[in-house]
């Protein structure tokens, strides 16, 4: 149980390359079932538009989970993530077509802490929007 990334081999300011995560309607249906969040704004276009949204939008937690994947894949161990927080700054609109949406996540090691921990700041975008802000993970490195 340990990260594959070594604390001594990273530097503050180091960038973690972007990864693209596609989102289709079926992913939101699966996420609704797995999470128990059946708010119809995440699967029913008619309902979403009736409450003033442009279309069906992804669960914020689905987007946050993609940021989580980004960090755990980089660190090499899910247990390395000791703190993870985000603000949902914009919606991920998921149209009912073959393309769906794409969430692009990238990261920067903002700070090296004590006890071999680092702060990773994430950027998540979909289309022209920044969908997460203040997205920050504390990661226990080896």
């Amino acid at each position: 149980m340990a990260a594959t990334v070594k604390y001594d081999e990273v530097t503050a300011g180091q960038e973690i390359p972007a990864v693209e995560y596609p989102v289709h309607r079926v992913n939101l249906v699966m996420y609704a079932g797995a999470s128990g969040d059946f708010n119809p704004i995440h699967w029913n276009e008619r309902f979403a538009k009736s409450v003033g949204l442009p279309d069906v939008i992804a669960h914020g937690m689905f987007t946050m989970a993609q940021g989580g994947r980004f960090v755990t894949d980089w660190a090499g161990d899910p247990a390395a993530v000791v703190d993870y927080g985000v603000r949902f700054s914009s919606m991920v609109v998921v149209p009912d077509d073959d393309n769906g949406a794409v969430i692009t996540v990238s990261g920067v090691i903002e700070e090296k802490l004590e006890d071999k921990r680092v702060v990773v700041v994430l950027t998540a975008r979909s289309g022209d929007s920044r969908v997460l802000s203040k997205a920050r993970a504390v990661v226990q490195l080896s």
Partner: protein, 149 residues
Amino acid sequence: MALNRDFVGRAYTAPAPYEVSRVKIKEFAAAIGDTNPIYSDRDAAAAAGHPDVIAPPTFPIVFSLAGADEALSDPEFGLNFAMVVHGEQRFEYQRPIYAGDQLICTSTITEIRSVGRNEFLTVRSDVSTPEGELVCRTYNTIVERGGAA
């Protein structure tokens, strides 16, 4: 309609412990598109040094608001779920969550504030074992659009 401020400070404990299962972790990992075998294969988890399959970092969202549901759906509270979007979320871990964990969740409504036309509601959930070991703490801020209008 504004949210009822009388609810600030109230704490709710889920009626029964949440039992973390391998099947649920596997389902959740599949739903977020994460194919890491550490979430679905006990041998892969063991090979990585874990006692059982481990939960992804955002997994506690599955159960962490179960206790607070009672308050959030109380007509006296005044929350219109159709207008709710997620504002902020944070998970602070003392240790990872594993299949087989029994977790007791106590949720406290810590803050309600108006920002423009919207209501912001923050719930803190303390997730512990039945023996009282704190496993993680979650902070969930939801936004009721137009709620303060």
